[in-house]
Amino acid sequence: MNRFAELLDRLGYEPGRNNKLRLLTAYLRDTPDPDRGYALAALTGALSFKHAKPGLIRDLIMDRTDPVLFGLSYDYVGDLSETVALMWPKAPLPGHNNPPPPTLSEVVTTLRTLGKTELPKQLARWLDELDETGRWALLKLVTGAMRIGISARLAKTAVAALGDKDPHDIELIWPGLAPPYPDLFAWLEGRGDKPVNSDPAPFRPVMLAHAIEDTDFSNLDPADFIAEWKWDGIRVQAVSGRDERGQMQARLYSRTGEDITKSFPDLVPSLHLSGAIDGELLVLREGRVQTFNVLQQRLNRKVVSPKLIKEFPIHLRAYDLLGEDENDLRELPFAERRAHLEKFIKKLDDPRIDLSPTVAFDSWDALMAARADPASAGAGEDAEAVEGVMLKRREAPYLPGRPKGQWWKWKRDPHIIDAVLMYAQRGHGKRSSYYSDYTFGVWTSGEGGEQLVPVGKAYFGFTDEELLQIDRFVRRNTTEKFGPVRHVVHEPEQGLVLEVAFEGLARSSRHKSGVAMRFPRISRLRWDKPPREADRLETLERMLKDVTAN
């Protein structure tokens, strides 16, 4: 447990993806079975313990410490697991008879079979035996609140590195594996055969598109391509197949291969034909596609209530078919797969799954017009959920990754405003010496006259050279410092105007301005523009109205 605890602890502070991978791979290489397997399970979200609730942990600590001291401490630390881990009194057992701290395997296997009434005593025993980091990790593990910035995909990439394999290979066999994965490690270390994925509904690595540039069009012939709307939902793969007993198994995967079926139980009955659909997950109300902000209410939910299902009905818009029954269709040209898909969707005949329509065009100019106005080019009332268009080469097979020249995405022009830099914060990792996180605001009339109200935060979009320039500006124009945050001069005649591009806008009660931007980034530095000429909150409110009026 202690080695796993150290890993979690370090990962929590490490901002860099590659360094996280290094830490994970080193752990998986140096830790024996079955501990490393259970660690992998914990990191990929394959473990859950239903009885360990925060209330139980609070009761444990209240029995052992002064309530006033606990109150002051919790108030200072702000995290229950951490406060308890730090405050837990040293075990009263003196001498050499102390049991060794539990291994991760011991914790996982014990918790699997332990009844609810025995849990407090068992947890207390482990907390006595572990050190601070161990206690913290144990509490994070059992309450299912690890939040250390590791995706299942990253954990699988780390395990692939152990045997110099492609992470896609791990994804392919993953659904057939179970903790603590002895066969997986045996294969990666050259001690065994590749585990066979006996899963009837496996994930297939996805094909991705390149962003198209203006200069690309001259080399492309419109006749070679099929265009579709690019929907502002989330990319998923819906796979169904019969297991050895003939039962239909259906699974929904994210684009990285994470199994997200549990979050969308309402879609499962619709996946009743054996096949693998590539498509977009959307929320539809009365046949109309809702914006991403609405869909967001359904994402990352552990518990899916009937109310949520009813208020946010989930829908799959299909654009590709990767397999059907026993047949792998990925080698076929896209135009042929599309024909298979159309037949498949017809046969499926389910209101929750429909076909993503194609967009007719005979020249790039015609497509550009459709992209600028999806409403009159076929998207109709769903136009607001269209992010742009996708171009897919008729002849392209389904290739994993981002192959060159096959698929293109052509986004609608983003919204743009001019805002004023208000606060800057240092970045992390390589950027820890640079002020690289920017809070920006727009003008509004307040009690004291014209004032800036913060409307968003951005930390990318600029070049390295621009970062140096902003960093220099921040350091020379700081008016106040609060820990890592600097207030930067923002007066009508003095300050820096940032051109901010963003994808969408939503009302938000969490922001003082009342609006929240989606995907904001710095698109240009407007050294030429005095802050008084930056945009006003009314401009954003108008954009918001345009959105909701559609």
Binding site: E6, R10, G12, Y13, E14, P15, N19, R22, L23, A26, T65, D66, V68, L69, L72, S73, Y76, V77, G78, D79, E82, T83, L86, M87, D131, E132, R426, G427, H428, G429, K430, S432, S433, R475, K481, G483, P484
Partner: protein, 345 residues
């Protein structure tokens, strides 16, 4: 005599009227008695200063030869009469030369412990428990969540990280007086014998430690060293420098910080620290409470830090306790950040 007639807090610091002096005054006074060399306790501009030789030397290094009109050195265990009181210096275990000051008047003894720790430290004389009637304690880490553990384990963590990332530089933020030298000494004890690099602000004080017979192995100024040559090395720097433009001279640096604050994850994250090292020169909660009990004092005055929790603990043990309103002291690390930030380029 009531204890508050012997020592009382005034705006200039802790004042001993019957002795005619102040302890660690924050404003210039005629006669100052100083516990240790950190800048919030040892300030320039006093008339006469009484302190250990090391503390006087450190003040001279920092403020120049004319930091006080006259100075007088006193040894641990040495007793001296000042006005109507007797004072005696005892080791505080905080940094080199740090002392607790016992002030006795008739049959009442008050110990002003300054900053102290009861943990092992190869760079200074170990803390000594001084029996007294009133104990004045700091409370920098006066919450039961602060339990520092073994500093040697933290140094092992640092060395494991250096082994795992040999192509990166490791930057260890550490207060330049005391903490930095302790970290270096601990690295040597752990068997790390490669050269250790120093930020310019640490050089003078670190060489002073060496001149007092504390072996720190091979040290090199980091200034002028090529970026590529710093891969796999450890550099000690003031905490504020580790998030400064200065770090751009290092290859993909891992930022560490040696401080008791690193016990709380939120504090480490807030500062963008990747490798927190829980190494403190102040007593942790267990150290504070054990020391209070060991002095046998019936009354405890609590100053700078988390006074509430420690006062509550004392009262629950039947001890008279009160927070002491002293301003101007704090966590030396925060002070140093503020100071070094001004010099930022």
């Amino acid at each position: 005599m009531r204890p508050q007639d012997i020592l009382m807090p005034v705006p200039a610091g802790l004042c001993c009227k019957p002795g005619g002096f102040h302890i660690d005054p924050v404003r210039p006074v005629e006669r100052a008695v100083i516990t240790h060399g950190h800048s919030d306790h040892a300030r320039p501009g006093h008339g006469a200063v009484l302190a250990t030789q090391e503390t006087l030397d450190m003040m001279r290094l920092r403020y120049g030869d004319n930091f006080a009109r006259t100075t007088q050195a006193i040894r641990y265990g040495e007793e001296m009469r000042l006005g109507d009181v007797r004072i005696k210096f005892h080791p505080a275990g905080h940094v080199l030369g740090s002392a607790q000051i016992a002030v006795s008047c008739k049959d009442t003894c008050i110990v002003a412990s300054g900053d102290y720790k009861d943990a092992e430290d190869p760079t200074c004389t170990p803390f000594e428990v001084v029996p007294c009637d009133v104990f004045i304690t700091e409370a920098t880490f006066g919450l039961p969540v602060f339990r520092h553990g073994d500093a040697a384990d933290e140094v092992k963590k640092l060395l494991a990280s250096v082994a795992l990332f040999p192509e990166r530089a490791h930057l260890v933020g550490a207060y330049s007086l005391g903490k930095a030298q302790r970290v270096i000494a601990l690295l040597r004890e752990a068997g790390h014998d490669a050269p250790i690099y120093l930020h310019g602000a640490m050089e003078k004080i670190t060489y002073y430690y060496e001149s007092r017979g504390i072996a720190l192995g091979e040290l090199r100024p980091v200034k002028g060293v090529k970026k590529a040559d710093l891969a796999g090395t450890i550099t000690l720097a003031p905490p504020s420098a580790t998030s400064d433009v200065w770090t751009r001279r290092f290859p993909d640096p891992v930022t560490a910080f040696a401080s008791g604050w690193m016990r709380v994850r939120g504090r480490a994250r807030q500062r963008g620290i990747e490798l927190p090292l829980v190494i403190s020169d102040h007593a942790d909660w267990d150290g504070l409470t054990a020391t209070i009990a060991a002095t046998g004092a019936g009354e405890v005055w609590v100053t700078h830090g988390q006074e509430d929790a420690l006062v509550h603990w004392c009262k629950s043990r039947g001890l008279a306790a009160r927070p002491l309103d002293l301003v101007g002291y704090g966590d030396e690390e925060e002070h140093e950040s503020a100071a070094a930030d001004e010099a930022e380029v």
